[in-house]
């Protein structure tokens, strides 16, 4: 991936990362109408399109900030594929049956396919991690929140009124518990690593 040339549209990724309203606005003006049309033509309405687009942009933002997302293809194709995949998944969930993909609007660009695939996988994983984290008990949740916010384990221990050794051990056991929950979830196996 690293030898590939970064596309000039990387500016959209950077703009999202910087929460730049001008760039976000430009994305809505330039790339969103095509997605809305697609969703409307495929059993959806404007409200559903709005949600899909918003969630997709949040996933891109998260991937950019966590994994240093680098765009090697036009933003247009990448963004469209992502929204489309998300919408088809929604349809699948709702109707519980296979949906056929209208292939003619699909870009033949390999890079965008690959990148869009990576991003959707990332997004689905995030969603799974988040769901599982919410299912953890409050004691674990509080400890983990404090751990990653405060950083110094000594201070975490102090703020929670426990010893350093205990906080330390508890942190690994809580992430361990989360690891087990994630591994045992049916969605995890579908996200074939």
């Amino acid at each position: 991936m690293s030898e590939k040339k970064i596309h000039e549209d990387q500016k959209y990724i950077e703009g999202l990362l910087q929460n730049n309203s001008f760039i976000i606005q430009a994305i809505y003006d330039t790339f969103v109408p095509k997605v809305v049309n697609y969703i409307k033509q495929n059993s959806g309405d404007a409200d559903q399109a709005q949600d899909v687009i918003q969630e997709t942009l949040i996933t891109i933002y998260n991937q950019a900030s966590q994994k240093k997302l680098q765009l090697t293809c036009p933003f247009d194709a990448y963004f469209f594929l992502l929204c489309k995949r998300k919408w088809l998944n929604e349809l699948k969930k709702k109707t519980n049956k296979e949906v056929t993909i209208n292939e003619e609007v699909l870009s033949k660009d390999d890079d965008s396919q690959e990148l869009a695939f990576e991003t959707s996988l990332f997004g689905e994983k995030q969603e799974l991690f988040n769901t599982m984290f919410q299912k953890l008990g409050n004691a674990c949740k509080d400890l983990l929140k404090a751990t990653f916010k405060i950083k110094s384990m000594e201070e975490v221990a102090k703020s929670l009124g426990v010893t350093y050794a205990y906080a330390r051990k508890k942190k690994s056991l809580c992430i361990g518990k989360l690891t087990k929950m994630v591994q045992e979830s049916p969605q995890f196996n579908q996200l074939n690593y």
Partner: protein, 248 residues
């Protein structure tokens, strides 16, 4: 995996293992597939948690900005297709607004010749809390009472809202405003002073209201001190400058 394994994962990631322990750990990663898979998930989760929790504030800022741009975009496109039907009411509304502007202009110019009064400046803008989630019934009641200038009522509702969500800056600001209106400065000022020191989106409005609140109590010097701190470009900057000119 056993508990010891997770403790080992953590120690390895924190680079706290001795050279021998580290070699043994890495050997096990190569030979034990289940150990390897668990370690990778553990590491990935650890990275996910670290990033998500540390960047919570930034991510939330991005989400709310995105939401407002998105709402604007979608309302605009919806409005364009419905535009024709509404055009008559809309142009009537335009005249009404124009009339109000003329009237307001008249009032403002008239007032300029007089001493400034609190009532020239207590225009708080239209409150709209109903866009938030939560106790919608109560939010609607609060919004209505506040916009109708029923501050006693609004203040009571806001108190209830703040009991449920004490950190909510928007509620805090409006609660402070209702208390300025009710002359309960001992309630409003500490809230506003805290906000003026913080860095929420309501910081500058809190500064303006501190100026206005002191002005209402005839504490001119204090009022001037606060009004001067309303930065250029902030909401109420124009009003702050105008009031300053009259006071100084």
């Amino acid at each position: 995996m056993k508990e010891e394994d997770y403790i080992l994962f953590e120690a390895y990631l924190a680079e706290e293992l001795s050279v021998e322990e580290k070699t043994a750990f890495e050997n096990r990663l190569e030979t034990d597939a289940a150990f390897n898979a668990s370690f990778n998930t553990y590491k990935e989760l650890s990275g996910y948690l670290e990033h998500t929790i540390k960047n919570e504030a930034e991510t939330n800022a991005f989400k709310s900005n995105l939401k407002s741009i998105s709402n604007q975009h979608f309302n605009k496109t919806k409005g364009a297709s419905e535009g024709n039907k509404k055009s008559t009411t809309f142009s009537l509304l335009k005249y009404a607004i124009a009339a109000c502007v003329v009237l307001l202009f008249g009032i403002v110019t008239f007032n300029k010749m007089n001493q400034p009064a609190y009532s020239d400046y207590n225009e708080h803008g239209i409150m709209d809390l109903t866009v938030r989630g939560g106790n919608i019934g109560l939010l609607i009641k609060t919004t209505k009472a506040f916009n109708n200038k029923e501050y006693e009522k609004a203040s009571g509702y806001l108190e209830t809202l703040l009991e449920e969500d004490p950190e909510n800056k928007e509620y805090q600001l409006y609660y402070a405003v209702t208390n300025i209106e009710l002359d309960k400065f001992e309630i409003s000022e500490p809230i506003l002073q805290d906000m003026a020191k913080g860095d929420s989106a309501y910081k500058n409005r809190a500064i303006w209201y501190l100026g206005l609140s002191n002005f209402k109590q005839d504490k001119e010097e204090e009022a001037i001190k606060w009004l001067k701190q309303v930065p250029e470009g902030a909401d109420y900057y124009r009003q702050a400058q105008e009031l300053l000119n009259k006071l100084e």
